[in-house]
Each structure stands twice: as C-alpha cells, then as structure tokens.
Symmetry: C2
Subunit: 138 residues, 2 copies
Amino acid sequence: MNEFMQEALAEARKGKANFSEIPVGAVVVRDGEIIARAHNEKENLSDPTAHAEILAIRRAAELLGDWRLSSCDLYVTLEPCPMCMAAIREARIRRLYSGAYKPLDAPSLPSPETYSGIEEDACTELLKDFFKSRREKI
Amino acid sequence: MNEFMQEALAEARKGKANFSEIPVGAVVVRDGEIIARAHNEKENLSDPTAHAEILAIRRAAELLGDWRLSSCDLYVTLEPCPMCMAAIREARIRRLYSGAYKPLDAPSLPSPETYSGIEEDACTELLKDFFKSRREKI
C-alpha cells in the first residue's frame, strides 16, 4: 500500500461524480507530507490546462511562493500526458510516481496550423535587449 | 505590420520592467478580435506554468466558458516551449503565429526520477469503472 498514491486515488474519486470529468488525481509531497492535492477539473473549470498534475503543481508552488519544486515529489494516478510531463519538468519536480499506464494506442493530438517568424525582428530585438540589460544589471 | 503580433509585443513589454521575467507576450484572437492577452508571469505569480501562452489560453477559455478554443488563433512573440506547445494542442487552438525563433541550442529540461505502476491495479480499475459507467449512462 502506497499511502501517497492512495491519497491521489481519493482525489481522483472526487472528480468521478461528474461523468464528463476523467477521474485522475495527484498529490505533491515534500518532506514526507502532502502539501497540495488536485483532481482533473478541465470540464468543471473550462480550462484545457486543468489536469490534476498541473493544478497540484500550481497549488504547491503558490504555497511555497516559489515555482521551483525541486524538493517535491508528485504522485499521479495515471501516466502524465505530454503537457503535464513538460510542466513537471518546468517545475523541477524531483520524483514522479504514476499509477495506471496509458494505453499504447492513445491518439496524439493534432498540431494547429503554424506560421513562424511573424514580426521576427521586433520580437527577437525585445528578447536580446532584455538579456543585454539584465547582464549589465548583474 | 502584423497588428496582432504588435499587440502581443505590447504585452511582452509589460513583463520587461521586472528583470527576472523573460518578456514574452501572447494574445488570443477570435473572429478578428483579441479576446485574451497575457505576458509571462512565472516569477511574479510563483507559477511554473505561467508562461504567456498558458495564461492567455486559460483566460480565453474562461471567457468563452469552454476549454475548446478551436475557433481561436494564438499569437506569441517567441516560439512555444514543449509545455506550451502541448497546451496549445490540448486547447485545440486553430492557428499558431509565433515571432522570434528559439535558439537551436536551447537546452531541454531534465526529467524527474520516474517510478511507474504504483498501485497500478486500483488506479486502472478506477478509470475502467468510470468509462464503463459513462458508456452505460449514454
């Protein structure tokens, strides 16, 4: 029995009452204690990013006042999707524990029509100026 | 001159005053009108997911009351990172317009230590039951 995955499961069950919300739960653990809990609320919040992992990460970061969660572990009842996996990396999560495996034939989402290099010079200049000013400040 | 990218640039400049916040801006456009604007606020909000694209997508979805942004286009001043690219797909954004190109040698973030299949049976059962009940409901 993994205590923290059981807590993530309890979170997942909270979303289950709503038949449109896929029940996935997550908890963030730091120094052996749960500091944030969340379940998938994409439909409930009308937010395409409101997967359990992202909500739990955002709550933990808010609590700690730091976006770096390098002292935190994440428990989630289902293997993370590409968006959540990238968010887990962005947050510097130390260890990831997942429960159910995703089906190998899970379809990947299509990409939007993409146009790059729009106003490229102005956009590049802004970033260059910023990094130059920051170096001069330090 | 691309009007919408200019607006995204104006958003990016808002983040520039804070020297720790990389200035990136984004706008969401629907039927030729900007319905959401955002700039990177990762440091300001202590939120690892608060990139310009994700904030703009969340604001647009909240406004429309629907996580599906398939009638919306996104303008962003820098090519999206993997997290934002996946969020753009999750949100079903129709067209993506980006400004500056990311350097080809941009380092990718390391993955956390990963442990899969924790309480696999219980986690899998919860999802199976959910999809079975939902099918029976329909």
